[in-house]
Symmetry: C2
């Protein structure tokens, strides 16, 4: 990882002071001259640090008075969503139709994106990518269509391996299989470890595509309690393993969709040991790991896997090039099975876009792009939290993820988000209702909200409109 600039170090310290409550909403910050003197840095360095934190919504400047901690404390909703309590029994899934009905109803041209699963495509370095794609298009070796079968382009796999190395995880290019996005990676990994009628453990709530994929493959699901802050409950997970003899576990350990939870490093380590004890494969969906607001990328469970039991999946779709549809898996001891799944599914992944991504990563603009993207997302999270605090009803609780672009909202019990989805849709607003994130339609008073789209007056108006709808009798749970 590149060394941080001085102003970033200072900003991170202030950020931590705010998070720990040393500085609280409304507190005035030291003057620029004072901090500059006490830290022995130039005034412009302090200005840059304050400006960065203002951008993230943590500070507010008042004319002639200096910088103050932003009033998030007052306006932000409480962050204490309860741990889920699913039954822990395995079940046949029958939710895909319901989920599709909801997704199909959503208009394609929704640009506010509050209910979307995708970040705004405007956040990505499209011009730069277009240039490298254009350059690689002219130099493609025609034999690569045969030679890169079916694990994917070697140059790209090397670049992916390098990024893992920089983040402290040792993966060789040979262990990587390129796929059409992470969803395909999850599909081929699942097919490699579980057959129809067998069971797989999921978080609760979990990403709806995981439910739909299992249902499509006629694989049963076991939901395990999941904490909105720390992720899956390891004690409950072990019970479920012993009781249900699942074939695998499928989860997101970092910035989970829809909760935004991150398993602490120690928990990840313990989970890796648990897998080893029970010889249980884990499919780890790590598509959001690059989008951390903290100093370093949270490690993947794969980093603690000494037995090849983790089938790690990720992609470029959430932080670089969604339209390229390039993902990958590091399937450990299941590599042969995964490659065979890929071969009989669609042979191989699109060539020119793989080359372009390899070339983009080689040239080294990725980290700069990511720093900017993370700042943008952190700032947009603040905007969303402030808007929720300002407009949504009392009793609303939220998660405050340390990365990614989605958070989880628990509304007062009497609000039915399936009804809210319909009412909002009639006004051109898309939301993602809680029931699409479990196999048994729980979380009727919950929403997943996306802050991956540039905040606009339209977003603010949509939030106000949503809040008004929440007061409407038509969205009350019956």
């Amino acid at each position: 990882m590149p060394t941080r600039k001085l102003y970033e170090v200072i900003a991170a310290e202030i950020d931590e002071s705010i998070r720990k409550g040393v500085l609280r909403a409304g507190d005035r910050l030291p003057s620029v001259r004072h901090l500059s003197g006490s830290r022995g840095v130039s005034p412009s360095t302090v200005f840059q640090a304050y400006y960065l934190l203002e951008g993230r919504g943590l500070l507010r400047a008042r004319e002639r008075s200096g910088y103050f901690v932003a009033p998030c404390g007052g306006k932000q909703p409480p962050q204490a969503v309860a741990r889920s309590e699913p039954s822990g029994e395995s079940m046949d899934l029958d939710v895909s139709d319901m989920i599709f009905r909801i997704l199909d109803a959503n208009p394609r041209n929704d640009r506010a994106g509050l209910g979307s699963a995708f970040p705004s495509p405007l956040l990505f370095p499209q011009d730069r990518l277009g240039q490298v794609l254009a350059a690689s298009a002219r130099t493609l070796d025609p034999w690569s269509s045969v030679d890169d079968l079916s694990t994917g382009n070697l140059a790209l796999r090397r670049q992916i391996a390098r990024r893992y190395m920089a983040d402290g995880m040792t993966v060789s290019a040979d262990e990587i299989v390129i796929t059409n996005g992470a969803l395909e990676a999850i599909n081929v990994c699942l097919a490699a470890v579980a057959r129809p009628g067998e069971a797989v453990i999921l978080e609760c709530p979990c990403f709806h595509a995981a439910l739909q994929t299992l249902e499509r493959m006629a694989i049963r699901a076991i939901h395990v309690p999941t904490h909105p802050g720390d992720g899956i409950d390891l004690g409950a997970l072990e019970q479920a393993i012993v009781r249900n003899k699942p074939k695998a576990c499928l989860l997101m350990s970092t910035f989970q969709n829809p909760l935004g939870s991150v398993m602490p490093e120690r928990q990840k380590q313990l989970l890796a040991q648990l897998l080893q004890t029970h010889e249980l494969p884990l499919i780890e969906d790590d598509v959001y790991g690059e989008l951390h607001f903290t100093d370093r990328r949270p490690p993947a469970i794969k980093a603690f896997d000494t037995q090849g039991l983790v089938l790690h999946c990720s992609s470029f779709s959430k932080w670089l090039a969604p339209w390229y549809r390039i993902g990958w898996t590091v399937p450990g001891r299941f590599q042969d099975a995964v490659v065979r799944q890929k071969l009989t599914l669609n042979l191989s992944t699109c060539g020119p876009t793989q080359l372009a991504l390899a070339s983009y990563l080689e040239r080294g603009g990725a980290d700069k792009h990511l720093r900017r993207l993370r700042q943008t997302l952190a700032r947009q999270q603040q905007r969303l939290l402030l808007a929720i605090g300002e407009h949504f009803p009392d009793g609303t609780r939220v998660t405050k993820p340390l990365g990614g672009y989605m958070l989880w909202v628990e509304l007062p019990e009497h609000i039915d988000t399936l009804k809210l989805h319909g009412a909002a849709l009639a006004r051109g607003i898309v939301v993602a209702p809680g029931p699409i994130f479990t196999g048994d339609r729980q979380f009727r008073n919950c929403l997943r909200m996306n802050y991956g789209h540039p905040w606009s007056d339209g977003t603010e108006a949509a939030m106000e409109e949503l809040a008004r709808l929440m007061q409407d009798p038509s969205v009350r749970a019956s």
Copy 2:
């Protein structure tokens, strides 16, 4: 279809005369002056026609003596491979491991390609495609990643629809779903019509990926007798439908892999009626249709489908851009189910390459490229047939497909092609043994041979070496 040039018309007439036996091997053709006078065309038109036929290997020029029909008749092996006679019972498949063992053993850098499933990538207009990809890379609408979910880019779907229209099949852009190659199209179509434990009808022999896909999905297979010339036997097919109550039929009606068979138009029509009578979905794999050596593209069964029962699948991989991995399906009444399969499998297909193909097709170079490609393949087929006739043992029989780039070779009964595969591999030669093309390991004395690679001294030497190995006691059936 553009009107044919005069020399092409004359060449086609002579071609037909040779095929019908009016002109036979060694026959001298009318002098250029004579034919020019009798047909009222310029001598250069006749020259062009003769030159074209020479290019295809049908004529040979002898200095000062004029043009003669090439001695294919004498050296070509007989074309009378027998109709297959499978049991017609449904079976659980257990062949994928065996097929993978064989395919995995093959070296990636085999450039002769006799045993390959792919055409040579050198046959494709790579420079032109690189140019249009480079141009489209710079103009990609970032929102297309969302807007083109998940049926694919509209401009490309329009171009595909136009090509069908030009060939007499009416398909609208809305009916097309873009996939990562035709194999993925077949996968999503199969998943849309059949569940684990149910049965699907296949040809005998059939493409090994169809067997592997069914096995992966735990779908049972029913092989139906198939004629090396005319394709699947309709009487046997109807019996199998009545007896086994399959959920679908999966076949290639045009230039079938591995036989090269083409169902006559009338049979295709009858098959469409049969589907209607039994309300049976048909997954039609039509990836080779564009590679016809005849005047027009053989119609797809889809062209006779009035009930939306045919899930038609095709791709650009066999004639334009294998490394792009772009295919599609026209799934008829199963469209919603297919789109949902695609969504939960991998969401959507790579964007920039779809744009590039749309742009390539709009600009109109495709037909010219195809004419050249078809001539090349027809010529290479002649070379392969001549080499088989010259080198392979007496009793060898072959198919002589009217398109595509693969033919089927039936060797004398005592030769075991699984053993031949191993022996050839030790000498760096790859062959595709018959047993990988059925669920019950039939066709031990058969090979599928690929003529989609430029003929070279290396190819000729490989054919001679193969013929020598066929005499070796180690490849005798035990």
